[in-house]
């Protein structure tokens, strides 16, 4: 998985609790992305980062925040989890303009009860 790890891999949490997912890369890539994948919707971009402390919103950013204090780590936080945020979350990295392809982590399955 191209030197990308995600933690935790599985999590069950209750509605209203805060949750933080971590993405860690060892490739020193500048761009990092958070996606969610749901049946019928495919992969949708939540937030992305183009450098330390540089982040921007994606297609489905409501209810999510991100932080990137180091090149290698990109955190996704659900401030108050809702059942609609039950999903599989993928982190990805890329290094444009050298390459535009994205390399994905193994994913985190989050269940909000």
């Amino acid at each position: 998985d191209a030197g990308i790890t995600q933690s935790p891999r599985h999590k069950v949490t209750e509605t209203g609790t805060p949750v933080t997912l971590r993405c860690h890369q060892t490739e020193n890539h500048r761009y990092m992305y958070w996606y969610r994948q749901d049946p019928g919707h495919g992969l949708r971009l939540i937030h992305y980062s183009y450098g330390v402390k540089d982040t921007d919103k994606g297609e489905v950013s409501d209810g999510y925040s991100v932080s990137r204090s180091k090149t290698e780590d990109f955190l996704l936080t659900l401030e108050s989890a809702t059942s609609s945020q039950t999903s599989v979350y993928f982190c990805a990295i890329s290094e444009p303009p050298q390459t535009y392809e994205q390399y994905f982590g193994p994913g985190t399955r989050l269940t909000v009860t």
Partner: protein, 113 residues
């Protein structure tokens, strides 16, 4: 915004045959288009990138075509094998945002021995 259409129905073919998957998009023509493979429970894996000025690209048993007039890309797997069974996703950069990707919903390919 860009809309990407992939056949949501599974494609079932016999081993040894050529599989052809379709990716159609609306609106603007992107500078490039990418194809990914995703196995159950895993993150997508990059396969091929084709640029707008390339009609065709090959990698081993894989071939991708890009027709900007038809707004369509075709993804071919020749001499298909059961190990090729997976979901295949196409992805395009949004207009004026070359470092992000919008993904299609994917087509599941089943190769039967």
């Amino acid at each position: 915004s860009q809309k990407i259409e992939q056949n949501s129905e599974a494609l079932n073919i016999q081993e040894g045959k050529t599989a052809t998957l379709t990716c159609n998009y609306t609106n603007y023509s992107p500078a490039y288009l990418q194809w990914y493979r995703q196995d159950p429970g895993r993150g997508p894996v990059f396969l091929l990138l084709i640029r707008e000025n390339e009609k065709e690209k090959r990698k081993e048993r894989l071939k991708v075509t890009f027709d900007t007039t038809l707004k369509q890309s075709l993804f071919h797997i020749t001499a298909s094998q059961p190990a090729d069974s997976a979901t295949y996703l196409c992805a395009l950069p949004p207009k004026d945002a070359g470092n992000m990707l919008t993904f299609g919903g994917g087509t599941r390919l089943m190769v039967k021995p």
